[in-house]
Each structure stands twice: as structure tokens, then as C-alpha cells.
């Protein structure tokens, strides 16, 4: 599928905005779930965009900067997956296998970018000494967001233009590869969840993992209902812990909640 110049430009602008939102603003319209809808609309296939975005969203659920460490880049991974899914007419899950390397590449590029930005701090320092600190601080931040925008838009442009060619090539793949990528796409969701578990899980929380699993497997309960039940249990635990520590006397030290997160 060929994209028009206007479509490519719109994808670049949207990706630039998403690149800013990943670090600043943080409204999270950069998540693949939202990006999928918007990119799908731009590229003329909203449904494929939305489904691919939602699939990617689940895979990248654990791709969050825990403790400040940069995960694979969720913006570029999302854009690459969604553009490829639309241009190649591959199954959404299959396009994702192709998108992940882009996310890893962008992660490395951003690391370079954050290093390259160091000299700007020194120019702000000297502006402060000259009494022009207030405007220098504002300008440094505006400049930072502007360069982020340009960087992301540029990468998105390459992906969108190259994605057309890549999409055509992908259509020629033997079926076991596209099928296999689709199978992998279904399994990749486990990665995000495993990352979340790594940080939250402690053996005594296994019962809660089982609770959520059973409510869906055997009762098809919606996620929101399960989250509601979990909140109730967490509050009961909270009250109980408070009462127990009150009973145990006011000098009881709270060291028991140190595992888990």
C-alpha cells in the first residue's frame, strides 16, 4: 500500500507529539492503544490501526521506566507496528514481531540524545551568572521539546516511507513465518506481564494472581470488576494491618511490608 505525502507528514507530526508526551505532558496519548486509532485514521484503516495498537499495548504494558530505566521505546515500536500492519495487511500480531527491533533501536538513540543534551545545561549555568537565568531556563526546556519532536518525526518518516517497501516484502513471506509471527505476537503479551510481576510479586501474593486468573478463566469477569474486587481486598488488608498494629501496641515497628514492590 502506497501512502501519500500528506499521510506521511501527518504520521511524522503525530509521532513527534507522541515523542514529547512520552517524557513531557505524560497524558499518555503516546501509548500504542491511542496511537493505533490516530495512525489508523491517518492511514485510512482505522480498524487495523486500533486492533494492532491494542495488541501492542498489551505487549508493551510492562515497558515503563521503572526506577527511571529506559525500556524499549514504546512510541516508535507502536508506530512501526501499526504502519507495517496497515501497509503489509499482515495480521496485527504478526506485524508486531517486526516492530520490536525498531523499539530497541530508538531506545539506544534516545540514550545518545540524553547524553548530547548535557552541554545545554552549561549554557544555562552561564546565562544565570549573567542574570539572564529565567529566560534561559524556559528556552532550554522549549528547545529540548522541539529537538525531541524533530528526532521522533524524522524516525517516523523513515519508517513510514520504508514501511511501504517493507510491507510489500512482508506479503511475500512464506505462510509459516507470518503465522509464526502471529503466534509469537499472542505470546509476547506475557513479557509485559512478567516484567510487572518481577517488581510486584512475592510468594504470598500468589493467591491474588490465582484469584484474578480464575475469575477470568472460569467466570469471564471483566477486568474492571476484578480490579474493583482487588481494591476491596487491599482495603480490608489495610484496615486489618492497622488494627493488628494498634492491638500490638503503639511501638510496633512496621517492617513487614517490605517485600513485594
Amino acid at each position: 500500500m502506497e501512502f501519500s505525502v500528506i499521510q506521511v507528514v501527518l504520521v511524522m507530526i503525530w509521532t513527534g507529539l507522541c515523542g514529547i508526551d512520552l517524557f513531557d505532558g505524560l497524558f499518555h496519548f503516546h501509548r500504542p492503544l491511542v496511537s493505533g486509532l490516530v495512525l489508523g485514521w491517518i492511514l485510512g484503516d482505522m480498524r487495523t490501526g486500533l486492533i494492532t495498537g491494542a495488541t501492542l499495548e498489551l505487549i508493551l504494558l510492562g515497558a515503563v521506566p521503572v526506577g527511571g530505566a529506559q525500556p524499549p521505546n514504546v512510541v516508535i515500536g507502536g508506530v512501526a507496528g501499526i504502519v507495517l500492519a496497515i501497509s503489509s495487511r499482515l495480521e496485527p500480531a504478526a506485524a508486531i514481531g517486526v516492530a520490536i527491533p525498531f523499539a530497541v533501536f530508538m531506545q539506544a538513540l534516545i540514550t545518545l540524545y540524553f547524553t548530547a543534551f548535557v552541554p545545554v545545561m552549561h549554557s544555562v549555568d552561564s546565562a544565570i551568572e549573567k542574570g539572564k537565568g529565567e529566560s534561559a531556563v524556559v528556552n532550554a526546556n522549549l528547545f529540548g521539546m522541539f529537538t525531541l519532536f524533530v528526532l521522533y518525526a524524522f524516525v517516523a518518516g523513515i519508517i513510514t516511507i520504508g514501511g511501504t517497501a517493507a510491507g510489500n516484502a512482508l506479503q511475500q513471506l512464506p505462510p509459516f513465518i507470518s503465522n509464526g509471527l502471529g503466534v509469537a505476537g499472542g505470546m509476547l503479551t506475557a513479557v509485559g506481564l512478567a516484567i510487572l510481576l518481577k517488581i510486584m510479586f512475592a510468594p504470598r501474593y500468589a493467591v491474588y494472581l490465582a484469584l484474578g486468573f480464575i475469575l477470568v478463566t472460569f467466570f469471564q469477569a471483566p477486568i474492571l470488576a476484578i480490579a474493583g474486587i482487588a481494591v476491596i481486598i487491599a482495603m480490608i488488608e489495610f484496615y486489618l494491618t492497622n488494627e493488628i498494629s494498634n492491638l500490638a501496641g503503639k511501638n510496633s515497628k512496621k517492617g513487614e511490608a517490605s517485600d513485594g514492590i
Binding site: 513531557d24 499495548e57 524499549p72 537565568g133 529565567e134 529540548g144 521539546m145 514492590i261
Partner: protein, 269 residues
């Protein structure tokens, strides 16, 4: 409490708004320092109005290394600007900044990355997978109502109540992290069953002649034991690799892709 305070409600809102861009000038030397300076600037301009030397000194101090959870910066801003207003010792202000960064990082991760984002995103993705455009909208509304309420609310709360409020926040942190773990782990359990897809494609025949019967390994055997058994085992396996064997997520992802293609080639998955 509110008497003879310098900053108005709209000053506080301006600061909270700027704090959205805390990482606009992020870099590996000072991290969020310059974004922090921008966020706190409206407050400093009010406090040091007509006193350029003190302003210069304040900017110098607030350009020092700073890094906190991007969602939980306003509690520190509230406390720090209240201290600037009272003309506290700069050393003390610096100490407060340094001391609050760490604990807030942990609470922020718990609230935003392990509770709010997984719940809101998986809820929205559930709609999105069916092609329903309400999915992204539900996600954005849910996420940002909590996000903005916390960001702007904490700005006002901590400016007004200061350090004592932070002490009480710290004392409930341990309890809060436990509660967040319970909610998070339960939701992850639900997500495994809802969204991890893994099924065996193998079929074989048993019996002969008129009794010949095709047995589908997935639906006739595994699902009879327990539906979603494979996704559960698979996720726990990945958890083992990431948490216990220190595999990086990238390595796991490439491994899964190769595994998927290989199993598809062999006709197993």
C-alpha cells in the same frame, strides 16, 4: 494557615502545569534539574520579586542535579516553595529535595506504573481488540483524571501543609505499596487469562474404522484439564527467565519470536 501566604492558587496551578514538562531538558548530567527549575520558576519569581541577586542564587541552587518520579514532583515543589517563601536555610532546602526524591520514586512507580497504567490500558485494550474506538478514549480519561487530580491536588496540599504532610505520607507508604501489590498482582492474573494467547495446533487420530476419532490436543485434552493453562505456565516461565535468570526483556522478546516461527514451521503451535 492560609494567612500571610505569598502564593495564590493560580501561582500553584501554574507551577503544577509547568511540572508536566519536568523532563523537557532531561540529560544524563543533571537529569531533570532544568525542568525542575522551570516548574518552580513562577513561585521563585513571586518570592524573589525585585531581588535579582537572591533570584540568581535560587536559580543556581535549583539547577543542581534532580531526579524524581515525573508524576510525583508536586509534593516536593509544594514543600520546597513553602520553604523558600519562609526564607529557610538553602542547605535545609537542598536536604529536603534530596531526601524526598527516593521515597516518592517508589510510591510513584507503585501508583502509576503498577496500578493505574495496567488497569486503564488493559481496560481500553479490551475494547480496542474488538475494534471499538471507545477503548483509547476510556483509557485516556481514566488515566488523566487520576493523573491530574494527583498532580494539581498534591501541589496545593503540600504547599499548605508542608513537611508534616510528607511525614504522614511516608508513614503510609509501606501500607500503600502492599495494597498496590495486591491490586496489581490480581489484575495481572486476570490479564494472563484474558490476553496471553498460546494454543497447540496438534491433532491426531485414535481408533480405527468406524471408531476413528480425531483428537485435538488443545480443545480435547488441555482445555479439559484447565482452560488458559498454557498461557499461565508460559507467563510464569517468562517471569522466571526475567526475574530469576536476569534475561533482558529484549532477549526474551527475540527468543519468543524465533520460538513462535520455529513451532509454526513444525506445526506444533
Amino acid at each position: 494557615m492560609a494567612s500571610n501566604r505569598l502564593l495564590t492558587s493560580s501561582d500553584l496551578n501554574k507551577m503544577a502545569f509547568n511540572s508536566l514538562f519536568l523532563q523537557a531538558s532531561f540529560n544524563y548530567e543533571r537529569m531533570q534539574a532544568c525542568g525542575w527549575a522551570w516548574s518552580i520558576l513562577p513561585g521563585l519569581q513571586k518570592v524573589y520579586k525585585g531581588n535579582p541577586e537572591k533570584m540568581k542564587d535560587a536559580l543556581r541552587r535549583h539547577m543542581e542535579f534532580f531526579n524524581v518520579h515525573p508524576f510525583l514532583v508536586t509534593p516536593i515543589m509544594g514543600i520546597v516553595i513553602a520553604m523558600e517563601e519562609k526564607n529557610e536555610d538553602p542547605e535545609l532546602i537542598r536536604a529536603v529535595k534530596v531526601a524526598t526524591m527516593g521515597p516518592l520514586g517508589g510510591i510513584g512507580d507503585a501508583i502509576f506504573w503498577f496500578t493505574l497504567l495496567p488497569i486503564a490500558a488493559s481496560l481500553g485494550a479490551g475494547f480496542g481488540l474488538d475494534g471499538n474506538p471507545l477503548g483509547p478514549i476510556i483509557f485516556l480519561v481514566l488515566f488523566n483524571v487520576v493523573h491530574l487530580w494527583i498532580r494539581f491536588g498534591f501541589m496545593h496540599y503540600f504547599y499548605n501543609f508542608g513537611l508534616e504532610a510528607f511525614e504522614s505520607l511516608k508513614s503510609i507508604t509501606a501500607h500503600f505499596q502492599k495494597a498496590a501489590s495486591i491490586i496489581g498482582v490480581t489484575v495481572v492474573g486476570a490479564l494472563i487469562a484474558s490476553f496471553v494467547r498460546l494454543s497447540v495446533a496438534l491433532k491426531f487420530n485414535v481408533g480405527s474404522g468406524e471408531n476413528l476419532k480425531e483428537v485435538n490436543v488443545q480443545t480435547d485434552i488441555i482445555d479439559a484439564v484447565m482452560p488458559n493453562l498454557l498461557p499461565l505456565c508460559f507467563t510464569l516461565g517468562i517471569y522466571y527467565l526475567i526475574a530469576k535468570k536476569n534475561w533482558t526483556p529484549t532477549r526474551v522478546i527475540f527468543g519468543i519470536i524465533l520460538f513462535g516461527v520455529a513451532m509454526s514451521f513444525l506445526g506444533i503451535l
